[in-house]
């Protein structure tokens, strides 16, 4: 965070200009206007305003921090505050220029969100001359305000910042999960205080608490750990109590965890970049559908979920082997594009008029039954959740066992250096095929669950995006790490589902988050222990 280069007054100006461009982008892309109706604090602050405020906050603080002297130097409050003010002003200047330009020419011919509503927002509803001055003044004010945060001691600053971030986040999750609206002013304040205080206390007492825990006798430590495990398991089992929609999100997340665990074996362990992972997912789903749907009349057999499940997994595994043989001799990115191709081939063939008489083409296969055990039907997401959890546990178990076996070591060796691995007597194709088939099996399992969850499947559900999502899940989570897969799925599948508020902008945010995450934490959220080591040594500049 410390900057050794001498301070320059140009720094806040450029920081502010960049901030201005970002603010302008948010306005023009429509996200500000679209979330004007979304209250963070009911009747007071909307999400749209929060977006603009956030830009001021982030860039003013950055500018102020850059101006703040190092720890050993004399504090320079004026310089810090002035930097904040300048950057805030610059953001306003950019927005003001935009508004003035908008008065002269019709920007809507190009930018569809350059609407009067937006101009109104930016001029505080005061119209052009007055509004512009207010906007500029507002910028300076915000700049000074957030610049002042740089003057606070770091622990306090962090708590304050966390509290401020927490309010909109909690508001969004809250309103999304429980279909409420924004928080009340009182709730917002409560969230702010609780989060800020909690973080502050954690920062203060983290060390002593931990030290005390470590000082406990080994036995007590063990029972403490056991207790934590029990709590965690109970927590996982209790989650569906949140309601059907959260359970629905959990089921989707679980299906991605399952796929992630499988793909992790292929990409994370064996280092084979597979971009067509959805193919096996599709095969699992289609086999499940064909074997259980009463709609399919050409197939002489129509069973229940449990009978069909092993066949779905088997079919996917078999497909993994058959598809694997021709492609596994290929190296690196050839493998990537060929597997991508396979994924598309499966989807297109399933969609085709050619197989339409058998598997429905664009009409898909409907009426897939839900799993039933002794008359108990898993007919809603709250119940289905448990089946998915069992699937994930089995998958995680298999993945862990394989990782610490001869096979796992061979895969790791192949990932590290294919040539040398071969020179150690490892049959590359055979070992890769094992990874591919295991991954395919888990994907097939996920597909079967997906089919029964949806009760109807369509080729469109098995597009490239699914493969990309799963890959992103395991990489954002931390390649090769099993807890990472879970965190990754929660972060990239679960949370976006919760943040449906942003509807049109979901993929925009998703993309931005992917880029941001990779830049800030290239090793993933919860990396495999050894990978973390490796990366930080390799490039100290990306480490925090």
């Amino acid at each position: 965070m410390k900057r050794t280069s001498p301070f320059s007054w140009m720094t806040p100006v450029t920081t502010g200009l960049i901030g201005g461009v970002v603010a302008l982008f948010l306005c023009l892309v429509g996200i500000v206007e679209a979330s004007l109706g979304r209250y963070v604090i009911t009747g007071i602050v909307t999400m749209g305003q929060v977006f603009v405020l956030a830009v001021y906050a982030i860039f003013a603080m950055q500018a102020a921090q850059k101006a703040a002297p190092g720890q050993d130097e004399k504090p320079a409050p004026f310089r810090t505050l002035a930097s904040g003010a300048i950057s805030g002003l610059m953001i306003s200047v950019v927005l003001a220029i935009f508004v003035l330009l908008g008065q002269q020419i019709d920007l809507r011919a190009v930018f569809i969100h350059a609407t009067p509503v937006l101009y109104d927002l930016l001029t505080f509803g005061l119209g052009v001359p007055q509004g512009i001055f207010v906007l500029l003044g507002f910028g300076i004010l915000m700049g000074v305000l957030f610049g002042a945060m740089a003057l606070l001691p770091s622990a306090l600053r962090r708590s304050l910042g966390a509290g401020l971030i927490a309010v909109p986040l909690v508001a969004v999750i809250y309103s999304s999960l429980f279909s409420g609206r924004g928080l009340s002013a009182f709730q917002a304040l409560a969230v702010f205080v609780v989060v800020g205080l909690a973080l502050f206390l954690w920062g203060r007492y983290q060390q002593p608490v931990r030290a005390r825990a470590n000082a406990l006798p080994a036995r007590q430590q063990r029972s403490m750990r056991l207790g934590l495990w029990v709590v965690a398991i109970l927590f996982v089992l209790a989650l569906p109590a949140l309601g059907t929609y959260p359970s629905e999100v959990l089921v989707i997340t679980g299906i991605f965890v399952l796929m992630g665990l499988g793909l992790n074996i292929v990409v994370g362990y064996a280092g084979l970049l597979d971009l067509g992972y959805v193919a096996f997912f599709a095969i699992g789903a289609y086999v499940m559908a064909i074997l259980t749907s009463p709609e399919i009349t050409w197939f002489p057999f129509s069973g229940n979920f449990w009978i069909a499940l092993p066949f779905a997994v088997l079919a996917a595994t078999l497909a993994g082997v058959i598809l694997g043989i021709p492609v596994l001799n290929m190296r690196g990115d050839y493998l990537a594009i060929v597997t991508l191709g396979f994924g598309e081939i499966i989807r297109l063939v399933a969609l085709s008029d050619w197989l339409k008489p058998l598997i429905g083409g664009s009409n898909g296969i409907t009426q897939i039954p839900k799993p039933v055990v002794f008359g108990f039907s898993f007919d809603n997401p709250q119940k289905l959740y448990y089946i998915v959890v069992i699937g994930c546990v089995i998958a995680a178990f298999i993945a862990t066992r394989l990782k610490y076996s001869r096979l796992g070591r061979n895969w790791m060796a192949i990932r590290e250096d294919e040539d040398v691995a071969q020179a150690m007597g490892i049959d590359l194709v055979r070992n890769k095929l094992m990874a591919f088939a295991t991954g395919a099996a888990l994907s097939g399992l996920a597909g079967a669950l997906f089919a029964t969850k949806l009760t109807s499947i369509y080729p469109h559900s098995f597009n490239l995006l699914v493969s990309i999502n799963v890959l992103a899940v395991i990489i954002v989570g931390g390649l090769g790490s099993i807890p990472g897969v879970i965190i990754g799925a929660v972060a990239l599948v679960g949370l976006p589902e919760l943040l449906r508020e942003f509807a049109e902008y979901r993929l925009l945010v998703y993309g931005a988050v992917l880029v941001f995450m990779m830049l800030k934490r290239p090793e993933g959220l919860l990396p495999e222990a050894r990978r973390k080591l490796e990366l930080h040594e390799l490039s100290p500049d990306v480490a925090e």
Binding site: F397, I398, R401, L402, S405, R406, L407, G408, R409, N410, M412, A413, E416, D417, D419, V420, A421, Q422, A423, M424, G425, I426, D427, L428, M434, T438, R530, R531, L533, E534
Partner: protein, 264 residues
């Protein structure tokens, strides 16, 4: 007794360049055999032909009387040929013991089922593998380092580990590509002793590429000299040292090129 390895007229070309030209080498069982020659003489290329990474266009390589030509490298390793690399190629992000266990893997048989269900056979096998690997680490002088990340080892130990990993494949013939490169004099002396122990204690035949003349001349039974892909001399160290063609090929070169790392 027929030679353990018998290379006949091996020729390897890269485009217009003939890297190895009609090379004939016979390696007797239990011998320490060195190949020397200036950089680019085709020594490592020859290694790659023997181990199956390159396919030679002409000639044949017989191992224990059977041809190896066209076999996949992993197959050749299982036939009993181990190797190390000129620029150390460890599995950097695996632990020391894991590296050795990968070398040992072709002597293990448990598969997917065993791994997932931890069958009795698999557990016994893993135990055996760890024991074997420990023994091997002790043999190469890395006892107690098993849990180090292999890239964190000092340079000399990385060389040892690489040899240990190759030994774990239980080869009859070990190909060492410049094992003394980058070592200081005392490490070099240790290495020479170590290579002799390979033969005396494990009964392994060693084929060595080396620039370090002291090593070559003091431990080799037989030396083959290559230049521009061809064999220009062969014989005992003394014979080779006195061969005028060898002197011509080496004069003014040998010492300066010592330690430079060439690649293909």
């Amino acid at each position: 007794m027929p030679p353990l390895l018998n290379a006949r007229d091996v020729t390897k070309r890269f485009g217009g360049l003939t890297a190895v030209n009609k090379l004939n080498v016979e390696i007797e069982e239990n011998a320490i055999h060195s190949i020397i020659g200036p950089n680019g003489a085709g020594k490592t290329t020859f290694f790659n032909c023997v181990t199956g990474f390159y396919r030679h266009e002409e000639g044949t390589v017989l191992f224990k009387g059977e041809p190896l030509d066209g076999m996949q490298p992993d197959r050749i390793t299982r036939e009993g040929i181990g190797r190390t690399y000129q620029n150390i190629r460890l599995f950097q992000n695996m632990t020391v013991i894991e590296n050795v266990m990968v070398g040992y893997q072709s002597h293990l048989h448990s598969g997917w089922i065993g791994a997932v269900f931890h069958t009795r056979g698999q557990r016994d096998e893993e135990k055996r593998a760890v024991e074997e690997a420990r023994k091997m680490l002790a043999f190469v002088g890395l006892a107690g380092r098993g849990d180090w990340m292999s890239k964190n080892l000092p340079y000399g130990d990385q060389r040892r580990l690489e040899i240990g990993r190759a030994l774990a494949t239980k080869p009859d013939l070990l190909l060492l590509d410049e094992p003394a490169a980058g070592m200081n004099p005392s490490e070099t002396v240790d290495l020479m002793e170590f290579i002799k122990r390979l033969r005396s204690e494990l009964g392994i035949t060693v084929l060595l590429i080396e620039h370090h003349m002291q090593v070559v001349m003091s431990i080799s039974d037989k030396v083959t000299v290559m230049d521009f892909g061809e064999k220009i001399a062969e014989g005992t160290p003394q014979e080779v040292q006195n061969n005028p063609m060898v002197i011509e090929a080496y004069l003014g070169k040998g010492a300066t090129e010592y330690g430079t790392v060439g690649s293909h």
